[in-house]
């Protein structure tokens, strides 16, 4: 019986490590009280505010950034976006000043390629655990 050497077919693969970036954004309405703001807050509203900010700054073509809102808690959300578009999201958030006639502030606080790092805040941990011992 002849032995036929089996060869693995040549494959072209490209692995991209951490293709997505996770950005923590917080949306606040400066001219509304906390109750009205929390009543109006929703995932669709967050998406609309961010989309409008992207379109204003980068136009129709430049602002067609695909992003996902993973979690919305109170007025903060974790947004997943391709790492090549992370700078656009951050810049659009910084330039967003109004929505629907209301003054808003859309601030990006953290950005990480790892979702796990969004679960904890090292500064908050240091403030509660380390700072008291330092006096």
């Amino acid at each position: 019986m002849s032995e036929r050497s089996t060869s693995v077919p040549r494959q072209w693969t490209r692995e991209v490590a951490c293709s997505d970036t996770f950005i923590a954004l917080s949306l606040s309405f400066l001219d509304l009280d906390s109750e009205a703001a929390s009543a109006a807050m929703s995932e669709q509203l967050f998406r609309d505010v961010l989309t409008q900010a992207l379109t204003e700054l980068f136009g129709f073509v430049g602002g067609a950034v695909v992003f996902s809102i993973l979690q919305l808690r109170d007025s903060s959300a974790i947004v997943r976006v391709d790492k090549r578009d992370a700078d656009k999201i951050w810049a659009a958030a910084a330039f967003a000043t109004s929505y629907g006639g209301h003054d808003i502030r859309l601030a990006a606080s953290r950005s990480s390629p790892f979702l796990m790092s969004m679960a904890v805040d090292s500064r908050e941990w240091a403030a509660t655990r380390v700072a008291p011992s330092l006096g």
């Binding site: 379109t55 204003e56 700054l57 980068f58 136009g59 073509v61 430049g62 602002g63």
Partner: protein, 143 residues
Amino acid sequence: MVRLKNRYLLLEISWKDGKLDESYNDNVLLQALRDSVALNFGDFGLGSNLSSLQVKYYSPYTDVGIVRCATAEHERVVAALALMTDVRQRPAAVRVLRVAGTLATCKEAAVARSAEKLLRTRLGRQHQANAEQLHQQVSALEL
């Protein structure tokens, strides 16, 4: 010293109504191009192009024009030209015939294209004189 490089785009406008309107000059084209850049690429795109974007030449008789833009922005400008559907509410399509690194190369192509269109276009006596005068100005373009 960092050298500021430009790209010169030779373009041709096809008007849907096929008519001649002498009021459409290089200023009108520049404003329409800026509006298209602002609509499609936003404040960021418009701000990047504000200093470098310029219509060097445009003839409403041959519908041939030369636009200058920065090298880093020429893809956005070409895309904005392709996405233009009208110029001052007059339906039109813009085609980019050539992208050149120097004005001299673009001028040569513009002279050839303009001469070819002048031969094919039938104009009145006054319009013909104005068209040929504009055609002569292509060769005299400077940076």
